[in-house]
Symmetry: C2
Subunit: 666 residues, 2 copies
């Protein structure tokens, strides 16, 4: 399939028309009157470089898939839980540690607050999840913050929500990959100096896998989520049992903490709010199920809502459970070994169970990163279709994946990983801010939705969403304030800037569409317009003759124009021209300033101005001879002047540029 | 003059023909039947960016000059000496130091040889100058090594000589600028740490000056050369007088020299040859006069020969004189203060005379660097005309200067200065190798010349040139061997590589010319060829209608092709099309692999193959709608697909691509 396009065996059918309409061809199937369907062979590149690239791509990301090969599987609840919850549940692997890291700055006194804060966050999770259940019912076609805000609030807030979500998807990728690597380096400490490299390798593998069209549908995706949930529940169960049976190590004694140079901070409301803000990263990923309602088996909305509840409960239990165990065993975590890894080691020891748990942690985090790879390019596609991003983001690549979105997401995430040295602690301050803004906008949108659409029980529903919107708005402000000095300012610049950019793009596309649009009712008449042919020539040679011949076919009002900076050269040219091309008038333009493009365009202007102001100016067809270089490096030797001329002419009023290639035939 | 092109006042003359042939226009003068001469206004750019760039250029390098403004002044001998000798004579500012630096490695014993070696080099200079006098007579139109080798030996040796010369011109620039800066830092030691920056600033100023079209003709160019010659002769005269009158400081006592870590080298034949090799840098620039014969007042050849002799004598006297003074006063030079600066200080003291001499040294070196800026771009222009370099090198810029050559020369010289840290001592090993190879080739060419063209006295002439060729060949080998470990290997790679590149470029242009050429006797008949119009469309909009209208003007066999990856979309399109554009057949190509370019090109192939193999395939005119973006950043939003399609079609057999722009009109 990958190989040069070969000449087809033309069958002599006599009647051309029939053969054109129904080609029995290696490239097409005839699928109706005037309709052809391309086979894979029609897309095979013709140049050696093109073929080599196609072959490389086929090895790297697989052979092209046709549209019909799209997988549209409906998921049962058990599988959907695994597929859509990996992002949310995986945040339990680092959320407890984030709380403890903040509280530690107040020393032992601070650590006492870690469990209450975890419980408060779990309550917040409950509110948000309840709020999202409503969205699942109201928008069964998939209600992301963008869709809800667009339907209920306005364009700007929808685009802002989308920008915030895309930023958070990007951070999901960066944080999850970094945390996955941290799960590995917690066990194999020797790899710690290479964490950036490891993270970038993992990112590259995820990128290739997603360009291959890795879908969330495979059973394989269910495995890591259940592995981790099982491991975490076992960990908590065993831990609680040990504490209950009086394990002497579970002394609830805080570890000795070295005072920082500036001394311990006081345990203040501010500190507790900061710890809450950093811990609320546990909520990231909560929106995934409501976005994915159409993928559920019917009844879609109810199944999605049930799954959402199960997910929230599991996440809450694991998150609070790990916080309790860390408190009991006096564990705070450090850059060498994560808190959750230390907890697991304390409960499971060094054996197979611990290794199993670390592997499942790393795998669920990779899966969570994959959520970003699924979510961001799809959202970008929706935005591109709506005109907020360049159209390229809506094109699907060979494997039906949104290649542009995937590649750009990976590149940006890679830059963040590299700049922040692959450290989860350093990346977290940028994470979860965007998501809380988009939580607020989607819940707020739902409030407006219920006001407009007063179905039975709308008051209660509105109440839940209003609570959700209020709480998440407050949390969004707290998080932004708390994280501001440690990097959140980047989000406050990037998300609005991205919003403005998308709005500008939309305006641009919108004005183009308005300008180009034609009333559907109009029947477009055949044109009658005079035309004039101008052929810039650089001498008498085969390329020029080719161009002149085409010009003579196109019309009778033809003139060749020769620009020279040498009077004598012009005279010699005219003499030869009149001998060899007596049929074509030659205009010689002497250019004492040695410019080519300017005088030629000026000559066209003079031609146009020769028409009376009220007359219709004829179309000028500029026929350009072009020598086709066979190798890329040949190109710098040829056509430099022609290229500049073309650039100056494309876009000139009433002007058409026709390239007539001259190509070597051997 | 710099400003937008404004609409011209069209005079209603009634007869169009007259007005087209004789436009009374702001852009053109009518200079004959069918011949226009562009005024400066015709080259004024139309876009705001283009105008801003033109304005910047006008400030930086001056307003454009027309061909007629070329200065073609003939030089009297006194001025020619100054203009053409600055490069050669300026080498006396560093040549003595180069000899001493080599001899120093053998300690005091070595230094004794500096004057004899200087005398040997002066003799070599005499031989080379005599040899070049002959070239001046034989090639009064300017006989550079390239011209002589091309006329007498062969293409490869001529190109090799040219490559060597261009490399040496580049080194002339780098070394002269660095040496000029050294003359300054010898006086103002505080500037020594900034010598690279100073050299690059000087280089930039020289570049701008040369792009402005600085010519060798002004009287101003005579000043530095005579200033320096006067200063140097005064220095030598005063020095010799002091020595003769028994100045106690002129003790001919060598200075105490610190032994290097590896101890002193023995005074060996090798060492003396190395000192000779490094000192022979004094000969660089000797060829300039023979290249410039046409610039002399008549009788050109005799005047040039006389000037050459005067130059050689002056250079010899100054070079040997400075070596003698350095010997007498026990001066060896160092990185802080050059040898010649120390000699001048010893004779002149610290007063005005010393400062005068240093200023004249710096100025003549800048002038010498300018020789490189004059020589290399002119040689590159000759090579470009002969097809050995891309044509761009033969284009003259706004100020009649060969902009490409100037800019590239400056860039390469700048890189060498930066890499070698602005040190004359470090740069010298790469210098003067190329020039000796080109000496050898030009003298050798002259030997062959006399064998072919046995004018009266040819035996004597042949004898001189043979001596010259032999001696310079031996010296070339000695220099290469001596300098090889200190950087000459770069020359041995760069010059042959450059030669091969130029030969490849020549072959490329040659084969293109052969392919395109048309016998001058042939009268080219009018063509009769069928044509078919294909318009790829992306919907029904104004841009598409524009393109269709042009297509319908161009011919009757027209079809629109719509590529889609969605069957239903295709049906909807056909329904709308048949309603709105009933006159134009629409072909729908379904592309399940989502490719656009491949299926479209494949469709054209199918059309072509529908013709019987023996019939002439009609020309396919692919008319492409193009939306013209108004700002550069708009471009990434539009036409990406059209651009790829165009790239695939340009160069297809029997295919013409016509771009129909759609441009906003407000």
């Amino acid at each position: 399939m990958i190989g040069g396009r070969r000449p087809l065996q033309g069958k002599k059918l006599g009647d051309k028309r029939v053969r054109l309409e129904r080609p029995h061809s290696a490239y097409f199937r005839w699928t109706g009157p005037g309709t052809l369907t391309a086979k894979a062979a029609a897309s095979v590149p013709e140049t050696p470089v093109g073929r080599a690239w196609a072959r490389t791509k086929a090895i790297l990301i697989g052979r092209p898939l046709s549209n019909e090969q799209e997988i549209t599987e409906r998921l049962p609840k058990t599988k959907a839980l695994a597929v859509f919850s990996s992002d949310a549940i995986s945040s339990s692997t680092y959320a407890s540690e984030e709380i403890v890291l903040v509280l530690m700055t107040a020393g032992v006194a601070g650590l006492a607050f870690s469990v209450p804060i975890a419980i408060a966050i779990a309550l917040l999770l409950l509110i948000v999840a309840t709020s999202y259940r409503q969205i699942a019912y109201a928008y069964p076609s998939g209600g992301g913050a963008y869709a809800v805000a667009k339907a209920n609030i306005n364009q700007v807030s929808a685009v802002f929500a989308a920008a915030a979500l895309i930023f958070d998807y990007m951070m999901t990728v960066a944080v999850s990959v970094a945390a996955g690597v941290a799960a590995v380096t917690s066990v194999v400490a020797e790899l710690l100096p290479y964490r950036v490299e490891l993270a970038l390798i993992a990112l590259a593998l995820l990128t290739v896998a997603n360009l291959r069209g890795l879908r969330e549908s495979g059973n394989i995706f269910a495995v890591p989520t259940y592995m981790y949930v099982l491991g975490a529940l076992l960990l908590i169960g065993l831990g609680v049992f040990r504490i209950a049976t009086g394990d002497p190590a579970a002394s609830f004694q805080p570890p000795p903490i070295e005072a920082p140079a500036e001394g311990f901070a006081a345990v203040s409301a501010i500190l507790i709010l900061r710890a809450f803000a950093f811990g609320s990263v546990a909520l990231t990923g909560t929106e995934a199920i409501s976005n994915g309602v159409p993928a559920f088996k019917p009844p879609e909305a109810r199944n999605a809502a049930t799954t959402l509840t199960v997910m929230a409960v599991l996440l809450g239990v694991i998150f609070v459970g790990i916080s309790v165990l860390a408190q009991a065993y006096g564990i705070v975590g450090n850059e060498q070994q994560t808190l959750i890894s230390q907890v697991a080691q304390a409960i499971f020891g060094d054996g197979a169970l611990y290794i199993y748990f670390q592997i499942s942690t790393a795998l669920i985090l990779v899966l969570a990163a994959n959520t970003g790879f699924n979510g961001a390019p799809r959202l970008a596609q929706i935005l591109a279709i709506d005109g907020y991003l360049p159209r390229q983001f809506s094109f699907r690549g060979d494997r039906l994946a949104y290649s542009w979105g995937i590649v750009i997401l990976a590149a940006v995430a890679g830059v963040f990983i590299a700049v922040f040295d692959g450290s989860v602690v350093a990346l977290i301050p940028l994470y979860s801010i965007g998501i809380f803004f988009s939580f607020t906008l989607s819940q707020g949108g739902m409030v407006i939705h219920w006001l407009h659409d007063r179905v039975s029980g709308w008051r209660v529903r509105l109440g839940f969403n209003l609570l959700g919107a209020t709480v998440t708005a407050v949390v969004a402000v707290i998080i932004t304030a708390a994280k501001f000095p440690r990097g959140a300012w980047i989000v406050l610049i990037a998300v609005p800037a991205f919003t403005v950019l998308m709005l500008l793009i939309r305006r641009q596309y919108g004005s183009q569409a308005a300008e180009l649009s034609i009333d559907e009712a109009v029947v477009i008449a055949s044109p009658h317009r005079a035309r004039r042919i101008v052929v810039p020539v650089n001498g008498i040679n085969r390329a020029v003759v080719n161009a002149l011949n085409l010009g003579r076919v196109l019309g009778d009002d033809i003139r060749a124009v020769y620009v020279t900076d040498d009077e004598h050269d012009g005279e010699a040219m005219r003499a030869r021209w009149e001998r060899q091309l007596p049929g074509v008038p030659l205009v010689i333009v002497e250019s004492p300033y040695r410019a080519l493009v300017g005088p030629l365009v000026a000559y066209l202007d003079v031609l146009d101005q020769a028409w009376p102001p009220d007359a219709e100016v004829p179309i000028t067809i500029v026929v350009l001879p072009e020598y086709v270089a066979r190798r890329w490096w040949d190109r710098i030797l040829y056509n430099q002047q022609a290229r500049r001329l073309k650039a100056a002419l494309v876009g000139r009023e009433h002007t058409v540029v026709a390239d007539v290639p001259y190509r070597r035939h051997h």
